[in-house]
């Protein structure tokens, strides 16, 4: 009897080994099945089988099939699921799952095994030449260079492979109450006014300018981000770095600005104690005066009535940049459904509304008050030209990004040494990537 029990238990244990092998070849996109690949549901959700089973027969005209939409913001999973549900009800026979994946590296690993979600973000470091192998052309959905910004970045061999998920304007984001309390009645538009404003804010006991040093990635706004375009007025600034030194001109100006903010005591008291999560709410609560980020940030503060934006003092342009891009995976098993839902999200606008983003579609009036404020100062907006393939290859060989340079420059005692080191590495990277 005991032997029988242990034998049965051993067999059960052995079969559990194969439970994890839900392979995608079984999943022909027909059922909302329960042995879907492992990492599908990280979100709090019971919508795995929410919409029930899709019909096994695929008809020619009405939409059917199953697709997975990947989003990067865990807070919005429910909102997207609600939108997906409405779409599924309008199109019976379809199944749309929402998958929350925050770390883009996970997506990249799945590229190598052709297991991408049907609608997903495109990793930023994929070279344009590789896009056709992993994504489906989107031209027939209705995007043209005339109706969406940043169209060209997604084009390879005349076909469009991905579009940006939002447009973002970058400027100084400030707390209006903090400014009022410090006695600042108009926003600083020159660097002298800026330092004077910082001094006034500091006198009220508030941190004038937030750098978010410890979390590192917010410093990516500056070098190799949009700062070059803002300071120089040239949307193509980053690509011009291929012809010269990386720490020079507008980049050096930005580094000096950051360093001065720290040296004059206008940054956070301890750079390694900053906390991004706390910061997003603290700026609304009036603990910080200003920071330099994109327009994707104000909605995150949850204090939109207190937040305003103005162009970086003395900058020549307000950069408009794209952000993460979305495409349809080549390994999708229901491309028609994917394209239809893609249109619903990105042309009809469901995506921008759900995420509260600024749409990249052209000819749309921007309703957000902080955008209207930002563009009211007469500083021209410039469309950021995305990094071209050569620049990406050089940055990969350089093995450092703008945040590394900024972090080091802000705290070093030897600025000339830092400048020399990075310019040398940049020259070496250009040589290495050239072959």
């Amino acid at each position: 009897m005991k032997k029988m029990i242990s034998l049965i238990l051993a067999v059960m244990l052995l079969t559990s080994v194969f439970a994890g092998c839900g392979s995608k070849t079984d999943d022909t996109g027909k059922e909302g099945n329960s042995n879907a690949p492992a990492a599908t549901k990280e979100a709090t959700g019971d919508t795995d089988n929410d919409s029930g089973d899709a019909e096994p027969t695929e008809e020619a005209k009405p939409l059917s099939g199953k697709i997975v939409l990947q989003i990067h913001d865990g807070q919005k999973v429910e909102a997207f699921e609600a939108d997906a549900k409405a779409f599924m009800e309008a199109n019976p026979g379809t199944t749309i799952e929402v998958e929350f994946v925050e770390a883009i590296e996970t997506i990249q690993a799945r590229m190598a095994s052709q297991d991408l979600p049907d609608i997903c973000q495109v990793p930023k470091t994929v070279l344009a030449a590789d896009l056709p192998s992993f994504y489906v052309p989107l031209d027939d959905i209705g995007f043209t260079p005339d109706n969406i910004y940043f169209y060209d970045k997604g084009v390879v061999d005349g076909k469009l492979y991905n579009i940006t998920m939002m447009a973002s304007f970058t400027g100084i984001i400030y707390n209006k109450e903090v400014f009022a309390n410090a006695g600042i009645d108009k926003v600083p538009l020159t660097m002298d006014e800026f330092w004077a404003a910082c001094e006034k804010i500091k006198a009220t006991g508030v941190v004038p300018f937030a750098t978010n040093y410890k979390d590192k990635w917010p410093l990516g706004t500056y070098l190799l981000g949009v700062g070059g375009a803002a300071f120089s007025g040239d949307g193509n600034y980053n690509n011009t770095l291929l012809d010269g030194d990386i720490v020079s001109g507008a980049n050096l100006e930005q580094l000096d600005f950051l360093r001065n903010v720290v040296q004059k005591g206008y940054a956070e008291p301890d750079l390694m104690s900053t906390n991004w999560g706390a910061f997003t709410l603290d700026i609304g609560k009036g603990k910080y005066g200003m920071t330099y980020l994109g327009s994707w940030f104000p909605p995150q503060t949850q204090a939109l009535d207190k937040i305003g934006m103005f162009p970086f003092p003395g900058s020549k342009a307000v950069p408009m940049s794209d952000d993460w891009r979305y495409g349809i995976a080549a390994n999708s098993e229901s491309p028609e459904l994917a394209k239809a839902y893609f249109k619903h999200l990105f042309i009809d606008g469901a995506f921008y509304e759900t995420m509260n983003y600024i749409t990249p579609l052209k000819g749309v009036e921007y309703e957000q008050p902080f955008i209207q404020e930002l563009t009211s100062f007469g500083v021209p907006t410039v469309e950021l030209v995305p990094n071209n393939d050569e620049l990406t290859a050089v940055i990969n060989a350089f093995a450092a990004d703008g945040t590394d340079i900024a972090q080091e420059y802000m705290i070093t005692d030897d600025t000339q040494g830092v400048i020399k080191k990075y310019n040398e590495n940049w020259a070496n990277a250009k040589a290495a990537a050239g072959n």
Binding site: Q108, A109, Y213, P269, L271, N275, A399, Q407
Partner: protein
Amino acid sequence: MKTLHRRWSKKVTSISFLILPLIFLLVFTYYPAVKLVQISLSDWNGYSPKINYVGLRNYISVFKDGSVFKYLFNNLAYIIMMVIQTVAALYFAIVLNSRIKGHNFFKTTIFMPYIMNGIAIAFMFSYLFSYEDGPVNILLRAIGLGEYAIHFFPDNYFVNFSLAFIVLWRYLGYDLVIFLGALQSVDGSLYEAAYMDGAKFFQVIRYITVPSIKSVITMMFFLGINGSLQVFFEPYVITQGGPAGRSDTFSTVAYNYAFKYQNFGKASAMGIILLIFIATVLIIQKLVTALAGRRGE
């Protein structure tokens, strides 16, 4: 006939028990290791279906960079704390092996950090070690020692010690449990004989306890060195390798090469170099203990 059958059935039993772990070992350890060597000889970018071999270029690049020594030097802080951790675990194990009051409670509390979620720990220590809002510094300011407020993540080498302390806190319990198990295996009659002969506590430790579990102690030191050289989680999650790379370790740099800069070839080369380095350390350690053992006779 019967003995033949018994011997054969013994063989079948042992083989069938071993086959599954062997398969797992081959698939999840040896095959990736072979692949790692293969990728280290190429310039693969992580997603392209083709592999382009470039010989030893990645290895030369790693040594020319100096990254081998620069970042391994940061790992040294973890090794130092690991020594403290192992000694402390041994001390606690000896003390808690007796039946003093509350020994179960202490064992549980010391072991608890080992099973806590890593991200939760990272978040907790980020807050605890904060210069502005951290409880440690708030307490110091409250009792008037504000000028001694500690920068736990300064822009000098000390940041590695702060992170290594978090590693110590996490893994002390694991070492403790292993040592406790080893101590249980020591024959009690040795202690009785020693006490009857009038031996004092430290003499007992030195002449009976430590030699009896010597192999376990050496194993824990080796595992500790192995772990210290490979540490990735704490510097990557808590300080992102900052400030300005001061807390970057060998593994965080390799990770960035692979996943941030698409240079899987160089990252794999770093992995193989680390493997060789750890194997060398192991061989040295084995030689030292063998020699010491021979001299002791």
